[in-house]
Amino acid sequence: MQFMLLFSRQGKLRLQKWYVPLSDKEKKKITRELVQTVLARKPKMCSFLEWRDLKIVYKRYASLYFCCAIEDQDNELITLEIIHRYVELLDKYFGSVCELDIIFNFEKAYFILDEFLLGGEAQETSKKNVLKAIEQADLLQEVRLGGGLFFLGFNSFH
């Protein structure tokens, strides 16, 4: 995988993970163009499109688009499964995850992603193991960043 973007239906970026070295300017340009392209797709169209020399796999979950850029040899159908697995992980962690969870806890969304994928490839195929690792790492945190509690399924804003 070369990169993964999460964005809302209004085109607002909620997460960006880049696995290839690009300048900030290039990243912004790619993001802008790709977001436009994906948002222009009609609901009946398939989840794959060719963009530049990459294959783009995208799927919408509620108000969020999950969009991955994969290489020619990568399997599009399994990429859909990867996206789905990530959503499942977020869902288990936040308890019925919604876009707001990802907005207010973006750093955690990144931590979860980084326990699931590394360098663009899946590092752990067991849902349980990923969540266990996150749980343990959370316990090591000395400070609660947002002032909220870290229990699974409980969100509170201070």
Binding site: D24, K44, L49, I82, A137, E142
Partner: protein
Amino acid sequence: MPAPIRLRELIRTIRTARTQAEEREMIQKESAAIRSSFREEDNTYRCRNVAKLLYMHMLGYPAHFGQLECLKLIASQKFTDKRIGYLGAMLLLDERQDVHLLMTNCIKNDLNHSTQYVQGLALCTLGCMGSSEMCRDLAGEVEKLLKTSNSYLRKKAALCAVHVIRKVPELMEMFLPATKNLLSEKNHGVLHTSVVLLTEMCERSPDMLSHFRKLVPQLVRILKNLIMSGYSPEHDVSGISDPFLQVRILRLLRILGKGDDDSSEAMNDILAQVATNTETSKNVGNAILYETVLTIMDIKSESGLRVLAINILGRFLLNNDKNIRYVALTSLLKTVQTDHNAVQRHRSTIVDCLKDLDVSIKRRAMELSFALVNGNNIRGMMKELLYFLDSCDPEFKADCASGIFLAAEKYAPSKRWHIDTIMRVLTTAGSYVRDDCVPNLIQLITNSVEMHAYTVQRLYKALLDDISQQPFVQVSSWCIGEYGDLLVSGQCEEEDPIQVTEDEVLDVLEGLLASNLSSPVTRGYALTAVMKLSTRLSSVNRIKKVVSIYGSSIDVELQQRAVEYNALFKKYDHMRCALLERMPIMEKAAANGPTETVQTNGEAEPAGLEPKHPPTIIQPANQANDLLDLLGGNDVVPVISTAPAMKPASAGGELLDLLGGLSLSAPTPAPPIPMSQPPFLLDGLSSQPLFNDIATGIPPMTAYNKNGLKIDFTFERSNTNPNIAIITIHAANSTEAEMTNFVFQAAVPKTFQLQLLSPSSSIIPALNQGPVTQVIKVLNPQKQQLRMRIKLTYNHKGSPVQDLAEVNNFPPQSWQ
């Protein structure tokens, strides 16, 4: 200084902003606060501030001033700090900046940290964004961790190693020992990442590939266990055990089995098993099947297995899920060349996909359909494709039309069917047909002699309905001009002849001339058609009137034609019949497909080149007025040969204009001679120019070199006539874009005679990939110094280019 606000607080505040300006203001305020907090070197709140900065960065605001702070966080002992610090590094730091190298030492320390989660952070960051320098420095640490028994770290180290290898391929060898026992792991995470690592190594090095081939049995065993094992809750996805691992193993098997008989045989069984046993109701199963199909097609599998694979793809085509259909069509397109017959069996399903709603699926189905057309299915396929052409989006129409023409040309079961198909395309998608198809179609129609009456009748009828589609109108008006007599005399055999009067025909053509819908090119066709009818119909007076009206047309092209046709009526009436005779069967030159050139259709090019000029007057060599053969053309001699321009007499020794100044004011005194090949140039010989077996020793020269186009001349003396020099031009294109519609023309002083044969092609490929050659024969009986003026026209990057040049540097041996 009050404590900086918390992250969530900031997010909440920013989200209340109602305008972009308001948001910007809030951000700026907070940025300033963060900056001063950084300046105070406050350890307590650094983490919080960087986190806020990362949020602002995601919104698109600058955050570079936080880069060093991230490094400080990474160096901190607190886990929270490290977590945010590494995240910040991955988001804000860029391997192009030297700043990132400061991380190296921290990462090295953290790779050896006592807490595995800290080690994990370091491995993740290195594997995500490590630069080549960092990778070189830290590869050793990664390699160490690859051998650890801690599976949490081992799996991360494996993917980190993949990144290191991608960045610094030379380091690959170093990881080889550590790969020894990777596949004996039970842990799926380690297995998965190990397979990824092995894949990377095999893809990069043929030596590694042969080394790892011995792992095939082990991989097959692991895959088998996954399929056969019962329900495993930890790895189950919709009833399938660890699909991610299955897919990666299949991919590695593909690489290992490619081109290797033994390995391919070893995996045959398992592939068959996966292909038949995998549950296909969900995307997950289909993902595995897809990977299996790709593997089967790539390795040396037995034919039964290959057919199984294609059948799976065929079933995919029937799947409700459009993603699966898309993937199937893409794969079938790749295999249609190698497994043509197997794919043919699914033809009807593929054709059904033409009706799909998704644009990408439709396009692939169209491409695949064209690939599957053959002599047996042409009628059925064409019906479907024509229907598709009717209803598809405009973006497809041009490609579809061209594809249909090609297919029809190759497999037409009968001439009538062919003509009918062409007409159907012209009438339904006539404005999307590529311009270069028009000459092709005209040639086709000309060659179908027995269909002329039928063709012109049908085209005429269609023209009555609709004159807006230019390529269609052009072909139709050409046909009417050529076969109008058949139309009027009602000679059609294929269908009931219609009653058409001469006036009706002329009405239609005049209508085209006058209509706003007609392009200038179309008008040219129409006018020429009218002119031609002067020898086929009896309403000559009406035609004369039409022609004289357009003599004062604003359109220069039209005006010129009209004036010349007028001249035909007035002064050259005796030639008119011969000039406007029926077209002969044209020789089809090199099959260039839709991009057939003007040149190869040569003298038969109807687009106004030929009847435009008054007839040739061929002079014996001693006459004052010499012939200039300016237009290239086929050397094969039809009755109507190339129509070179006629020049009035002029003072000796000058170079005469190319195609310019075709004034009709100076008639030549010489009597007209029926047009035929000048007898003294290589009499009766075919288009093969004569070359000496050995080089005549005339040095080659560069005649023209501008804008990336270089034309070299090489010389040869003719065997039969020592006064004839045979020049071969080599035109090469050093630019990045090809040059199309290339036409080379030459003029020589009047004591010379020139003959231009057909060029090898009208497209000069880019980057000097193959020059276009053309032969010029020059007769120089008076042994005068050879000079030449050349005119080049071509299309480059979409715009037409034209250039004139003088060539004076001929080596003396070429004309002495």
